[in-house]
Structure formats: structure tokens, C-alpha cells
Amino acid sequence: MTLYLMAGLLFTPLAWAVLTLLVGFTRGRLITWAGILVQVLVSLTLWLAVSRDGGFYYGLGGWDAPLGIELRVDGLAVTFVLLTAVVASACAIHAGVYIDPDKPWHRYFWPLFWFLWSGLNAVWLGGDLFNLYVGLELISLAAVGLVALGGSVAALRASIRYLLAALLGSLAYLLGVALMYGQFGTLSIAGVVFWLDQHPVPAGSGLALALMIAGLALKTALFPLHRWLPPAHGIARSPVSALLSALVIKASFYIAARLWLELGEPLGSLAAAQLVGLMGSAAVVWGSWLACRQPELKQVVAYSSVAQIGYLFLLFPLTYSVSESVALQARQGMTLQVISHALAKAAMFLAAGNLILSTGSSRVNALTGVSRFLPFSLFSFGLAGVSLMGLPPSGGFAAKWLLLQASLGSAQWWWVLVLLAGGLLSAVYVFRIYRASFLDGPETDQFYHPPRSLELVPMVLALMALGLGLVADPVLSVMALPLEDGSR
């Protein structure tokens, strides 16, 4: 059973990528819908299996580490696999209607989409540093390709910039991996942890971790390495922006978080943890500030991603040399923030795409009168905004609450200020959009009304982000399951 599930998760996306490469956009769409069905079913089954029996290590094809590909199937990983299935399917359904099939280069959308998905699954489940690298590269290359599909010169420029940033990040990460391998003689994270249990910490091994995390921070667009993100996410087609903001940047963050949680305590230092937290805080403030000042709707949403990523990096100081309960709260808060931001940001980008389609302009000021004639897409946008502002009952609020508790519990009150100020700053840019749309506009309806299917997708995602807070406890309980110690 598990074999089929694993094969389904990792190889069907690859197979679908090849299949869709052979046909045009319209046929690719049909094939994709079948693939989505498979992926959602497989992801859900795996999630149910893990939530019932707990996680496990899995050697792909029966080969165990260090020879084979070792997968780590725990509660966190399967939750993100399921999240990917939800968000990616939503984006694909939206893209199927949104993207114009007549442009010849759009036929590459589906293959790139499927490569991206397989990379994501590989990252969520990967257990050793090199396979994580492979997954990460797959994601980056597919994402760069997707940005370039925008077709314009600006899109190409943004995608080249993105490519350079991604390559630089990979380089730093790979250097760290090489150092790690030299030091510990294994690439498996569990193997390194095992080695460190037996031996004293060798001098200089902090450098390897620092290099890897710095590379990943660049790929996640952590302040001050964020400059590549807004142009790329802003210029891409809306479903692509949604995929990038919701999932792609989470993949590199996920690896950084996993490395930190496993190796941070022995290899990291208090100063490093605080520094990363500080950069995260700066991202929250600076990203929100710039989001308030953007004239273009999608740039607002893109800068909001820069800000929201900042919260995630509070995980570093909140899990370093603190009590077990505080670390647990920080981990749970981080998980909820990843999920709720993924859902809310995808909803927001898709809704923004619809609004741009309707008004025919990408500017915030063009929204005047929208709330009168196009309430539905605006509503989705607004509900997603509630989660980004961290207001109840959204998942963003639940995440903020847990991070607040962790900060108070470890007496790091400065993060409390960041969390509260960040919420208020995000309200400034979200309410800026509301304000523009509530302004009394033309008496008659001059807007294009997009098809209902386009409007429904962001609404569903936004409602999930909003409702996440109410069911946060069951969602988190899957992550609390013990990991069955299978390998090594």
C-alpha cells in the first residue's frame, strides 16, 4: 500500500509532466484534471494513514539509507503534501480557465506545473540533504519557467533575475551540503543527528549549517535577500503567482526549518537565532511598508508575501534554548502560518487576477466601484485579507496566537511587538484595497464579469484559510504523532 502511495506521490507528477509535454494546452488541461484527481486521492489517503498510525521512514524501492533514497513520512510532511494537493489543484483549475490557450508558449504551462508539483512532494518527504537539493532545483527551474510564461520583456527580465537568485541560493546550499558530508560522512539528516549523539560537536560545523540556511533564506526571499521576489511574483500570470507565493517559497523555508529543528540546537548559536529572528522582523515591517506604497494591486500582494515570510523565521529564536513547551508552540505556530498563508495568499492572488481581468487595469485605483458590481471576487480577496491580518477566527490568527504565547513563554517580548505591529501594518495595506473598492464609482456597471468557476476557486481557498483557525487543534494533532523509528 505504502509503496503505491509513495510511487503515486513522486512519480505520477513526473509522468504527467511528460504526458502534457506531448500535447497542446487544451488537451493538457484534460490530462491534468485526471492527474489532479489521482494526486488528491493519493495525498489524502497518505494523510489519513499517517494520522491514524503515525509517521515512518521509508526507503524508496526497498533500499535503505545510506544507499537508497530515504523518505521521512511524518505528520508535518503529509500535512504539507495535502496542502500542496489542495492549493495546486485550485491553481490548476483556475489556470485552466484563466490562461489563454491561443498563445503558443502557454502549452508549456502544464509540464512546468507538474514538474513543480513533483519537486514539492520530493522536498516535503525528502530525508537526506542531497535529495532535498534535487527537489529544490526541480522546483526552482520549473518556477522560473512559469514566470517566463508571462511572455513580456519584463517577465523575462524578472525570471532571469529570479533564476540568478535561485542559482546563487542553490550554490550556497550545495556548498554547505558538501561541508556537512565531509564532516559527518552522511547526507541523511537523521544520520547527522545520530552522529552528533555519539561524538562531540566538531569545530566549524556551524559554518556548514549557516551556509545552507543562508542559501535557503535567499530562495525564500528573507529580508534583505527579498529583492527578486516582488517583480517575479508580481509579473507572472495570477495562477502562477499564487503557486509561487503559496508553495514554492515554502519549500525552501521548510528545508531551513527542518535543518534548524534537527541541527540548530547542537550546531547553531543564540546570536545566530536572534539574528535570523531580527531579519524576519525587518521583513515584516519593511515588506508591509512597501506593500502600502505599491500602486499596482499584484505588487501589494507580492510585498505582503515578503512580510508574511518574516513571521516564519521567528521560529529560529523561539526554538533555540527554550523550554520544550515553548518550542512546541513555536513549531505549531510556524506550521499554521505556512498553511494559512499558503491558502490565503493563493486565494488573494487568484482573486486579484479576477479583479484585474474585470477592471482591465492592474492598478489599485482602478478598483473604484468594484464592491458594487463585483462583490464576489472582492469578497474572496477580503476574506483572505482577514487571515493575512491575523484576525480571528482565521488560521493566521491561530498562528499569531501560538507565536505570541511562545514569545511570552520564553520572555522574548520583543517578538511580541513585532507580531502585533505586523498585524496592524498588514491591516494598512489590506484596508487600502477595501477603501479603494468602497469608493463610490460609476453609476453603471462597466466591468467584465469573469466566469463563475474563476470566482469560486479563490472563495473556497479563502474560506479554508478563514476556517483553519477553528479546526487548528485537529490539524495540529496530526503533527504531534510519534515518528516510528524505522531506518538507520
Binding site: 464592491s371 505570541l404 511580541v416 496592524l424 468602497f438 487548528a472
Partner: protein, 498 residues
């Protein structure tokens, strides 16, 4: 689970489902929308009436589940929550009727009534919340659902007011969240309980408890319009009249005052709050706000702005009452939660009627409007006399109870505040009443509309008269079972002898 456990959920759901249905209906579905809205309001009134009777007999309503690790979502009905829920259920029905008439033929009605219902659902949640966390959930939902109502007209001025409103309330919300999260970190998840939790508080945490109390009251004080956090309220006047009525009488300011009552009575407990030295400063702040609001009201030329400053003053009666540390005074404060709501909504309905029927916004334009609109003007006069505290109207009951309560705990200065405030009330309401009845009207009204055989549209005519009748009745019949005063005394009895 039993039916009783779900009753609060049903009461909440009536307006929540109404909101969703209204959003889904097309803009033109006027008749169906009104039917759904009024049906839901009536159903909710019925549910609340059943719960009031149940709470009186000591039935437990409520349910809870774990929402986040260590945090429960808890709904429950106790005497205090039923007071607030009852107020919002009754006034929702009347305000909906009023709003249907008020907004006739204006755009964006689906949006308006949808958010209106959401706002009432949030108020219901605030009333029925069983712990601070749940309270906060609905408190913030209230902020969000009232914003579209405040900016409803879509003018630059309305958006500016909405901006001020949002800056004040969200900042207040952030401060409140900090207080709640800190309290949670110190003592864990506390349900609301008459008598509070800190009767025998650990001396080590006293310092934190004092700071947390300040944060909580500061956060809640924004919506309760406590000085100096009241700045948003006069600006929010640009909203349509039914919204102002709802904001002032039921939803926003009351949610803030109700929250402060919850914190003092059911989290800290009056004894512990007093022992920590927190009540006396709060009483002084409330007393100052009462006088400040009244003094500012004197100089307002716009009718609705004058009413807004009057609200700032009147809501602080509630806070003054509960911070006097005596059962009678507390009953006086709590009963004002209802009394102020009924009186203030009457006044706002009337102000809306003058604006819609005659185009009157400023006080000097009201000359001689009494004979032209006798029903509305009688209602306005009753509301104004009630506010001043003329016996036997609602406001008199409040002031009398609170005054005798203050004497019982040897706080004579409160009498001085009450007398000064009543004089000021008279000074800013009596000129308006005088203009209504005893001045010659100008040649023509600023913008007159005819609505058939009544002085104004029937939808607008009856609600203020009904609430005016209530203003009289709650005063005259204050000694009866189930009068607001009786209910306030029941709450206080449960609080002071838990």
C-alpha cells in the same frame, strides 16, 4: 449533546445564516431579502426569550471544544450574557425594520443588510462568549463587519471616518489581544465566572495582573469610547442613521462596555479588582468621561454629533456603576446597558427621520419640526427626557439606583457627578426640545419628502415610537419581574454572592 448545549449556537446561527443568504440573493430581490431578514430576527428573538426564561430557572446553556492547544472555544449563556443578547435581539428587529425603510431605493442594499446581519451575529457572539478568547474572536469580527457599514455611502468623508474607526479599533484590538495572551500565559484559560478567579491571587503575579488589567481595559476602552480613546465615535456619524443607531445602542460601544464588565466581574472579580486598587482609578476615569462627553456635546451644532458625544458620556455610566464596588451601584450601571440602548436608539431613529423626511441635519434647522412630525418629535422628547433622568423614565431609574448605591458605599462625590451630568444633559437636550415645539418653523424645510398619509414612511415611523414606549415602560414597571432592573439585580446577586 443535548438541545440546551446547542441553543447559543442556534441563536448565533440565525443571524449568521441570514447574512450568508442575504449575500447570495441578488440585489433586486427586495421582498425575499426583507422576509429573510425579519424572519431571522423574529426567530432569534424567540430563541433568546426561551434562553432568558431558562437562565432565570438556572438551566445551563453552552458548549465548548478545544480550538487550539490549550485554548477552548466556549459559548455559554449566563444572566449577564442574556441581558446583552436580549438587547441586541430586540433592537436588531426594530433596526432592521427601520433600515428597510431608510434605505429604500438606494444602491448596495444586499451588501448593507448582509454586513448588518454579520454585525448582529458578532454582537451575539460577544454576548454568549464563555471566555476571553472567544470574546475576542467575536469582538474582532464585530470590527470587521461594521467597517463596510460605516463607509457604506462611499463618499470621501465616509471613507475617512472608516479609516479613523479602523485605526482606533484595530489598535485597541491589538492591545486587547496582548492582554488576553499575557493573561493566558500567566494563568491559563479562564472561563467567565461570577465572582472572578483572583479572589486569592498569588502575590507573585499581582504586578502582572495589574498591568494586564490596564491593557485589557485600554483595549476595550476604545470601543467603549472611554476618554481619551473616544476620538473615532463622533467621526463615525457619517454612517447611515440605522448604522449609527446600531453602533451606539447595541453593537460597538456596548461590546466595549460589556467587555469591561466581563473583565471586572467575571475574570478578576470585584473583590480582587478592588483589592488590587484597580477600581477606583477606573471610576474616576469613567466619571471624567461622563462630564467630558456632556460638555463637548453642548457645543455641537450637528444633531447626530451631539448625540455621539452624549453616547460617550452615557456609556461611561455603565463603567462607573460597576467600578463603585457595591451591589446597588453595580445594578445601576448594568441596567444602563439596556436603558441607554433603548433611549439612544430612539434618539437616533428620530434624527434619521428628520434627515430623511425634512432634510434636517443641524440643530438650528429643527425649529418648529414638532407640529410637522408629531410622532417622531414625541419620541424624541421622551428619549431626551429619559437621558436627562426625568422620573419615571429609564434614565431616572439608572441614576437613582446608582446614586443610592454610591451613598451605600460612602462615595458621595458620585452624587455630584450625577447631578452635574444631569444638568449638562438638560442643557444640551432641552434647547433641542424647545426648538422642536416652541419655535416658528422656517419658510420651507431644507429638503422635504412626502411618504403617504403618515408624517413619514411607516417603516420609519413606528420603530422610534415603539422604543419610546419602552423607555417609559422600563421606568414605570421597573419593580416587576423581568424588568431590566430586576435582571440587573439578579446578575449582581450572582456576582456578589457566588
Amino acid at each position: 449533546m443535548t438541545l440546551n448545549a446547542w441553543m447559543p449556537v442556534f441563536a448565533l446561527m440565525t443571524s449568521l445564516i441570514a447574512a450568508v443568504v442575504i449575500f447570495a440573493l441578488p440585489e433586486k430581490g427586495y421582498r425575499l431579502r426583507t422576509t429573510v431578514n425579519l424572519g431571522a430576527a423574529l426567530l432569534k428573538l424567540g430563541l433568546v426569550a426561551v434562553m432568558v426564561w431558562g437562565v432565570f430557572r438556572g438551566v445551563d446553556y453552552g458548549l465548548s471544544y478545544t480550538m487550539l492547544p490549550g485554548v477552548t472555544f466556549m459559548l455559554k449563556a449566563d444572566a449577564l450574557s442574556m441581558m446583552f443578547a436580549g438587547l441586541s435581539a430586540v433592537l436588531w428587529l426594530l433596526t432592521t425594520i427601520y433600515a428597510v425603510g431608510y434605505l429604500e431605493n438606494s444602491p448596495n442594499r444586499a451588501r448593507f443588510f448582509g454586513f448588518f446581519s454579520l454585525c448582529v451575529a458578532s454582537t451575539m457572539g460577544v454576548a454568549l462568549a464563555g471566555n476571553l478568547f472567544t470574546f475576542f474572536l467575536f469582538y474582532e469580527m464585530l470590527t470587521l463587519s461594521t467597517y463596510p457599514l460605516v463607509v457604506h455611502r462611499g463618499t470621501e468623508k465616509a471613507l475617512q471616518a472608516g479609516r479613523t474607526y479602523i485605526i482606533y479599533t484595530l489598535t485597541g484590538g491589538a492591545v486587547l489581544l496582548l492582554g488576553i495572551a499575557w493573561l493566558h500565559g500567566v494563568v491559563g484559560d479562564l472561563p467567565f465566572r461570577p465572582g472572578g478567579h483572583f479572589g486569592d491571587a498569588d502575590p507573585d503575579i499581582q504586578q502582572s495582573l495589574i498591568l494586564i488589567f490596564i491593557l485589557l481595559v485600554a483595549g476595550l476602552g476604545v470601543k467603549a469610547a472611554l476618554f481619551p480613546l473616544h476620538g473615532w465615535l463622533p467621526q463615525a456619524m457619517v454612517a447611515p442613521a440605522p448604522v449609527s443607531a446600531l453602533l451606539h445602542a447595541v453593537a460597538v460601544v456596548k461590546a466595549g462596555a460589556f467587555g469591561i464588565v466581563r473583565v471586572v466581574h467575571d475574570i478578576y472579580g470585584v473583590e480582587a479588582s478592588s483589592a488590587l486598587g484597580l477600581l477606583e482609578p477606573l471610576a474616576w476615569l469613567a466619571a471624567f468621561t461622563i462630564l467630558y462627553g456632556s460638555v463637548r456635546a453642548l457645543s455641537q451644532g450637528d444633531l447626530k454629533r451631539r448625540l455621539a458625544f452624549s453616547t460617550i458620556s452615557q456609556v461611561s455610566y455603565i463603567i462607573l456603576g460597576i467600578s463603585l464596588f457595591g451591589p446597588v451601584a453595580a445594578a445601576g450601571g448594568l441596567v444602563h446597558l439596556l436603558h441607554q440602548g433603548i433611549m439612544k436608539i430612539t434618539l437616533f431613529f428620530c434624527a434619521g427621520n428628520y434627515a430623511e423626511t425634512l432634510g434636517i441635519h443641524r440643530i438650528e434647522e429643527l425649529d418648529g419640526a414638532g407640529p410637522r412630525m408629531p410622532g417622531t418629535s414625541v419620541a424624541f422628547t421622551i428619549g431626551a427626557f429619559g437621558m436627562i433622568g426625568v422620573p419615571p423614565l429609564a434614565g431616572f431609574i439608572t441614576k437613582w439606583t446608582m446614586g443610592s448605591g454610591a451613598l451605600a458605599v460612602d462615595m458621595g462625590w458620585v452624587i455630584a457627578v450625577l447631578v452635574a451630568s444631569s444638568l449638562l444633559n438638560a442643557a444640551y437636550f432641552l434647547p433641542v426640545v424647545h426648538r422642536l415645539w416652541f419655535r416658528e418653523p422656517a419658510d420651507r424645510w431644507p429638503r422635504e419628502c412626502r411618504w403617504g398619509k403618515l408624517e413619514t414612511s411607516a417603516w420609519l415611523f413606528w420603530p422610534p415610537l415603539l422604543t419610546a414606549v419602552m423607555t417609559v415602560m422600563v421606568g414605570v414597571l421597573a419593580a416587576l419581574t423581568f424588568s431590566p432592573l430586576f435582571w440587573a439585580e439578579l446578575i449582581v446577586l450572582r456576582e456578589y454572592s457566588p
